[in-house]
Symmetry: C2
Subunit: 312 residues, 2 copies
């Protein structure tokens, strides 16, 4: 193992991305389907096939996985997106397969590490990052340390309450941020407005937050209202992050974080107007800068840092 490269892997509910990583440099990318609905063995085969062409040139393997991860023991405790994954000793399984040290962590934690060490959050000691997609995941750097928490659940921004009497979230509970900012709820907000107002969105059979964002930037009134409201709800949640973590920087990742000012202006306005002592605070709320690279870079970095600890 003369190489200083590491295999970085990002396992999402839909896609697997793997690559060789040296510091900030990524090479030999591999993409695969997760086949999350195919059950544990099927997805595991996909993960192995993404790592197999790379591992010989790497000294270790780092993997970000959507779900609740016990990074100390290398176990996927539970993943809402990977069917049948419950208490899976993933690190041990892949260690046996590839004869390399393997470390795993939550996928949003990996993205946060990547943006912190190589992206827009570089140099800050207190960072909160959340990712908006199907779900809303989050992760925190506190005083220069990634926050895992007692159960590996820390940073669950999507499931914080902004209205204790609000509508029911995917998880069954009320008024969570994800209930307002998750992709299908953004689309539902558009559909409900389209029933009452004209919109270019009516031309699309399948709507996504990205399509709505494009229409909003082109001036469509329904689409603009959708983003103003979505931004207000997200900003309300962000005010709680500011109150509790007091980060220098809040980073927003995921597809719609590229929507620009139609999203960030209402988020910043709501966050600032709902947090106590805004005039005494310095903070910024910005989009992530590394796109899909962040998760791969962060997973590789975690493996590098963690491999000095006792092995699994």
């Amino acid at each position: 193992m003369k190489s200083d490269a590491i295999v970085g892997v990002d396992v999402g509910g839909t896609n697997i991305a793997a690559a060789l990583v040296r510091g900030r440099r990524i090479s030999r990318r591999i993409a695969a389907d997760t086949f999350a609905q195919g059950g544990f063995e099927r997805s595991l085969r996909q993960i192995k096939s993404a790592i197999a062409p790379l591992h010989r040139d790497a000294r270790s393997i780092g993997i970000g996985v959507a779900g609740i991860i016990d990074s100390h023991r290398g176990v996927v405790r539970y993943s809402p997106n990977l069917r049948g994954w419950s208490d899976v000793p993933l690190a041990k399984i892949l260690r046996a397969e590839f004869d390399r040290p393997v470390r795993i962590l939550n996928d949003t934690n990996a993205i946060c590490l990547g943006e912190w060490k190589f992206g827009v959050a570089r140099g800050h000691d207190n960072v909160f990052l959340f990712s908006i997609g199907t779900g809303v995941g989050g992760a925190a750097i506190c005083e220069g340390k990634l926050l895992f928490g007692a159960n590996g659940f820390a940073g669950e921004f999507g499931h914080t309450v902004i209205d204790h009497q609000g509508p029911k979230c995917v998880c069954g509970l009320r008024g969570h941020v994800e209930r307002y900012a998750g992709a299908k709820f953004i689309v539902a907000r558009a559909r409900s407005k389209m029933a009452r107002q004209k919109s270019v969105l009516a031309e699309y059979e399948v709507l996504t937050p990205e399509i709505i964002a494009r229409a909003a930037r082109r001036g469509d009134r329904v689409a603009r209202e959708v983003f103003a409201e979505t931004g207000y709800y997200i900003g309300t949640g962000v005010s709680n992050l500011l109150a509790l973590f007091d980060p220098e920087i809040v980073v927003i990742a995921g597809g719609i974080a590229r929507a620009g000012s139609i999203l960030f202006t209402p988020i910043r306005k709501a966050a600032r107007s709902m947090v106590m002592g805004a005039e005494h605070r310095r903070f910024k709320i910005v989009p992530a800068s590394l796109g899909d690279d962040a998760g791969i870079l962060g997973a590789a970095l975690f493996s590098k840092l963690a491999v000095s600890e006792p092995e699994l």
Copy 2:
């Protein structure tokens, strides 16, 4: 300075408590009024008079102060409870007076340090502590480190939103935890119920949360309802702490934390029912164990730890 003792001081909006501290042991307690309404010079004189009889026997001084504290520079940036305290270099002033290293920190941070090192949170790496009184302050230990945040504001649990359309808080913003759990709002909840129902509370001219708690424990229906509702609101806020920090332990300090199950049962029920994945989480929600000692012990400890850093 042969002594290994430290002067620990807790400066609240009403009282100042000082003592000599050796590890967990407290001796020679001194109590004084803060005279917070008398302005900066008046309160400063009170703080000096509390420290003066003790400092000769101590190697350093640690002070917890209600407000936004810049612990790195030793400056009280702003304190809602101390009139006229704005950007006061308190550490430097007291250093000149007593010829001892002086460190200052937020008072709830001091209580949290005290409970973490000597009290109910001992041995845990992830702790959230909040204190319920006139206001609701908070503090976090994340992965074994006290969280200050970018501006020294971290842990402001009292000003997190649980209902973005809720009633206005003391700070002017809507639906914050303090708006439901601060002392005067607990009392107002009782008065509004007393207008419609009989209660032993009618016998009291001045009501406090402690009086209401006593009546609740004795079975008064109005008082019991007040605590059930207060606990529900606090528990909703706690569910956000669990989602974001994932602490092993949530510690509740302040007068009404002694109310026992009439408060903790509804808090635990609401927190557990409103947090995603409760069945996968291990955590406990408990009252603080050190009472007023926690702030003195924590301030002294902070001074001891920080004095190894470059002096002010």
